[in-house]
């Protein structure tokens, strides 16, 4: 059965995921999202994959959340603190979420996953590194190209074209 660490981690992860979507201020929402991503890193540690956990902390909590925080601070104040949403749409959304949770949970609990246990040793991170450099090397190079293309594209998109062309913010 679930132990205390697992329960605490799942409460942190799911609670701050809900808080990230529901808190009125986008800044607090971004910080709550950081908590959720950190909780996922904790799950990775529980699953004996410390390398993925550290990668998650470095990439998600370290860079993506900070990027989101800076973007949030670039938009106007009143946009950060106001929430515009339909009441009806919200109720339908909550109903959809509950139906999905119950249906997925029922399917998972009914399936044969319950019997799966393992007493084998965890995968060593050396094996992961070997995978990257042998079988997956074309994918690794492709990923490097995609990442550099994405960063270049983001810089080009967000660049200010000229002082007097277009409607600039403020």
């Amino acid at each position: 059965m679930a132990d205390a660490i697992f329960l605490a981690l799942s409460v942190i992860t799911i609670g701050s995921a809900i808080a990230a979507l529901e808190l009125r201020s986008l800044i607090y929402g971004a910080i709550a999202l950081m908590g959720s991503l950190g909780g996922i890193a904790g799950f990775f540690l529980l699953l004996d994959s410390p390398f993925v956990a550290m990668f998650q902390l470095a990439v998600y909590v370290g860079s993506i959340a900070v990027l989101i925080l800076f973007t949030v601070m670039l938009v106007r104040r009143e946009l950060i603190f106001t929430m515009v949403e339909d009441k009806r749409r919200k109720f339908v959304g909550i109903a959809l979420m509950l139906v999905m949770m119950v249906a997925l949970g029922a399917i998972i609990l009914d399936s044969g996953i319950k019997q799966i246990t393992t007493d084998e040793a965890a995968v060593d991170f050396r094996e992961v590194g070997e995978d990257f450099l042998t079988y997956y090397w074309p994918a690794l190079i492709l990923m490097a190209l995609i990442l550099s293309g994405a960063v270049t594209g983001a810089l080009v998109l967000a660049r200010r074209v000229d002082e007097d062309i277009g409607q600039r913010a403020n």
């Binding site: 998650q56 965890a122 995968v123 992961v128 994405a150």
Partner: protein
């Protein structure tokens, strides 16, 4: 080597709950940055699934794919945020109902 205390089904249930929360955020929220939060939560649910199944097989493919997925998610967030900034400059708002020319 430490023996795993938790079962696979617990991780899969947490992952399903995160997926449902992320889809709720994607359907209800009209703020573009909040929708990005929803996408992040869905991607994390998928990563958790990958690593959990990779641990219980056990096979190194789960962790490798999770690492690829995290890296691609970083690229996706960078592009998404710069698109939001461009749209904010054009419409002076980040409400997706105001992005008229994106409606197709």
């Amino acid at each position: 080597m430490r023996i795993l205390a938790n079962e696979l089904i617990e991780f899969v249930l947490v992952s399903a709950a995160l997926l449902a929360i992320g889809i709720y955020g994607l359907t209800v929220k009209r703020n573009a940055i909040r929708m990005l939060f929803g996408i992040e939560i869905v991607i994390n649910a998928a990563n958790l699934n990958l690593v959990a199944f990779g641990r219980f097989l056990p096979h190194s493919g789960g962790q490798t794919l999770a690492l690829f997925s995290i890296a691609i998610a970083a690229a996706e967030v960078a592009i998404g945020l710069s698109l939001i900034i461009v749209a904010y400059r054009m419409y002076n708002n980040i409400d997706i109902a105001d992005f008229r020319s994106l409606k197709g």
